[in-house]
């Protein structure tokens, strides 16, 4: 309390690192996007943007131990983007004269399109901030992440649904709630081949597609406001169909067919990867059985790495 004793003798330095305790940070994976396209900001300017489908049960965990000399070393050493993110965070905290040791442990499979790199980057930014006993706003974390790896996604917002400009690191629209509870049966098209996201030229959308994205944004807003997985699924399906014109996935029509056969809410894709997900309403009776049947059908159709993923809200009591 103000004026009460205790800290009179020594000044309080909120930005001083607690050298005896390493900072920790955590960030989740994602399963591609529900919607991706270009969207108008409030001034009418167009931005590339997306709504991430977060996977909160797979995480990257980062530890940061502050050292009194410049430079960040990282374990394992190939996580260069994470190290860069740690340096950028030190600079953001006006502590570029300091450095440290960053350790990243991730349960997210690398190179499978689950956004492991972004998760490492976001976890590292949070770990550095935590070492300074600070928390950063999601918008700041996103900006630093984009700076560290050119394009990012919105996982810093956890389960809060946002329309995120992935190349600028800014939020175009905050939908004001979490996604409705869904299950995603995920698998890989194209024999699981990997896509180098950053090497892809950005899609050039037609006027009709750009206009369609405006409606998709409205559908997403409605589905989040009313927690309607069916509307969200329909929007994701249309976004996936548009993506198919720009980066075709083998057997996409097969995936749509499976979704239809089992009355799923819809289909989502990683718009710059090979992941496909079939969306189910988590609150529908018999969802686990339907998920198993869809997983079997997908495996039978030749899709690789079929996984059933409940998308839990972080705030969900468990």
């Amino acid at each position: 309390m103000k004026g009460s004793g205790g800290s009179l003798g020594g000044a309080v330095f909120p930005n001083a690192p607690s050298l005896d305790r390493p900072g920790t940070g955590r960030a989740g994976a994602h399963h591609g996007e529900l919607i991706q396209g270009v969207f108008q900001d409030e001034r009418g300017r167009l931005h590339r943007g997306l709504i991430t489908l977060p996977l909160s049960h797979m995480n990257s965990l980062a530890l940061f131990e502050v050292a009194d000399e410049q430079g960040v070393s990282v374990v394992p050493p190939e996580k260069m983007k994470a190290a860069k993110a740690a340096l950028l965070t030190l600079r953001h905290l006006d502590s570029h004269h300091l450095g440290g040791l960053l350790t990243v442990e991730s349960a997210i499979p690398v190179g499978h399109g689950y956004g492991s790199s972004t998760a490492d980057v976001v976890a590292s930014i949070r770990a550095v901030a935590d070492a300074f006993e600070m928390q950063l706003r999601p918008s700041v974390v996103c900006r630093l992440a984009v700076e560290a790896e050119r394009a990012s996604d919105a996982i810093a917002f956890e389960d809060q649904a946002v329309l995120f400009a992935q190349r600028e690191g800014v939020v175009i629209e905050h939908f004001g709630d979490a996604l409705p509870p869904i299950w995603v049966i995920g698998f890989k098209a194209n024999d699981g081949q990997l896509v180098d996201t950053l090497a892809l030229p950005p899609a050039r959308y037609s006027s009709e597609e750009i206009q369609t994205f405006a409606m998709l944004r409205g559908l997403a807003a409605r589905s989040i406001k009313y927690q309607d997985p069916h509307l969200l699924g329909q929007a994701a399906t249309l976004s996936a169909k548009i993506s198919q014109r720009h980066l075709a996935k083998a057997q996409f029509a097969t995936a749509l067919g499976i979704a239809n056969n089992f009355d799923a809410c819809g289909v989502q894709v990683a718009h710059s990867g090979s992941l496909i997900g079939i969306i189910l309403d988590a609150t529908a009776p018999g969802v686990a059985g339907t998920a198993r049947n869809i997983a079997e059908a997908a495996a039978t159709a030749g899709f690789k790495d079929v996984v059933v993923q409940p998308i839990y809200s972080v705030r969900r009591p468990s």
Binding site: R43, G44, S207, E208, Q211, T212, A214, M215, L216, R217, G218, L219, A221, R222, S223, Y226, D228, H230, L231, Q234, A235, T237, L238
Partner: protein, 345 residues
């Protein structure tokens, strides 16, 4: 940032009004602002509209008003070609106050003289070769602009099963319908036309209900999207406009009345369906006519009861202004439907 962006976006935004448990109407003050702004924005972005460019268009009114508002705010020169039967002197004076030059042609046949208007517009384009024609009849920009309406509809309704709207240029119904159907493939699109408009195969004649229908066929009318077409006579439309005012406090134009009439009928016959209705304009322009009992009493047959429900027809033909007919169009081309009409004879 465009200094006018906010103002025109607000003015072109409809009020989303619930007409019944399963019906939401988008009630526009001036719907045509949506395509007009989109077409001008696109032309500006493409460098087709620069400095003090000269814009030209043929219009019966509201598209002209929309372009005139934008042209005044953005400092463009504007010439509008219309017909004397389509525009009263007060409306013309409003357009002129905005700086628009209005050419009102004679209309001896009472069909809107669209052919004469297009010839006059051609003449201007020959004299002013770098004039910009907004081309609401066949510009893609017209229908593309209505993604914004599709966005507003899904935000306020979610799933949509039926879309009801008037057809004049085809932009609003076919545009909104295209976007909504891309996400709701089973969407039923129900068009509202009027007797003696040629859009859906009727012979050309004098129309009493204005603001929908046409005497020429614009490219933006895409018949293959339409499941069902209604021809609403002037009188049921006028009565519907009066009811909108009394029952919902909405002072709308008679085309909005026609759309509401059909929309409410669709909702009653499909109680499970979620029905979206497009109501394109307000009633102020019609205060001395549609909302004036003395003017109404001069209309031949006005006291005859107007149809309260549509008569399903299989032969497409004009009916009196008291009548309301409908036809199962079934997403066919005009050619296909008309071919069957002649072989059936």
């Amino acid at each position: 940032m465009r200094f006018d962006a906010d103002y025109f976006e607000a003015l072109e935004t409809p009020r989303m009004a619930r007409l019944a448990a399963n019906v939401v109407a988008a009630a526009f003050p001036l719907m045509k602002l949506m395509p007009a702004r989109y077409i001008l924005d696109r032309a500006e972005a493409a460098g087709e509209l620069k400095g003090k460019a000269h814009i030209v268009e043929t219009t019966s009114g509201t598209f002209g008003m929309a372009v005139a508002l934008l042209a005044a705010a953005r400092d463009y020169r504007l010439t509008l070609v219309t017909a004397s039967t389509l525009m009263d002197s007060k409306y013309q004076a409003r357009l002129q106050r905005l700086g628009a030059e209005v050419i009102a042609l004679d209309d001896p046949r009472g069909d809107g003289n669209q052919k004469g208007r297009l010839e006059s517009l051609d003449g201007i384009l020959r004299q002013v070769p770098d004039a910009f024609w907004t081309r609401q009849y066949d510009s893609d920009g017209n229908w593309l602009a209505y993604a914004r309406l599709a966005d507003l509809f899904v935000r306020s309704m979610g799933q949509i099963d039926c879309l009801v709207g008037c057809v004049g240029t085809g932009g609003s119904l076919c545009g909104t319908g295209t976007f909504l159907r891309s996400v709701f493939p089973d969407l039923k699109i129900i068009g509202v036309d009027t007797h003696r408009s040629i859009l859906f195969g009727q012979p050309l004649g004098k129309r009493v209900l204005r603001g929908l229908g046409n005497s020429v066929l614009p490219k933006n009318v895409r018949h293959e999207l339409v499941d069902e077409i209604h021809w609403v006579g002037a009188y049921p439309a006028f009565h519907a406009a009066h009811r909108l005012f009394r029952q919902h406090g909405m002072f709308m134009g008679p085309t909005s009345g026609a759309a509401a009439l059909v929309g409410q009928w669709v909702s009653k016959t499909n109680p499970e369906a979620r029905v979206a209705v497009i109501m394109p304009d307000e009633g102020h322009r019609h205060a001395d006519t549609v909302y004036n009992d003395i003017w109404l009493s001069t209309l031949p047959g006005w006291r005859t009861p107007a149809s309260a429900f549509p008569t399903k027809i299989s032969r497409i033909e004009p009916k009196p202004e008291t009548a309301w007919t409908r036809f199962d169009w079934r997403r066919r081309s005009l050619e296909d439907v008309m071919q069957l009409q002649t072989t059936d004879r």
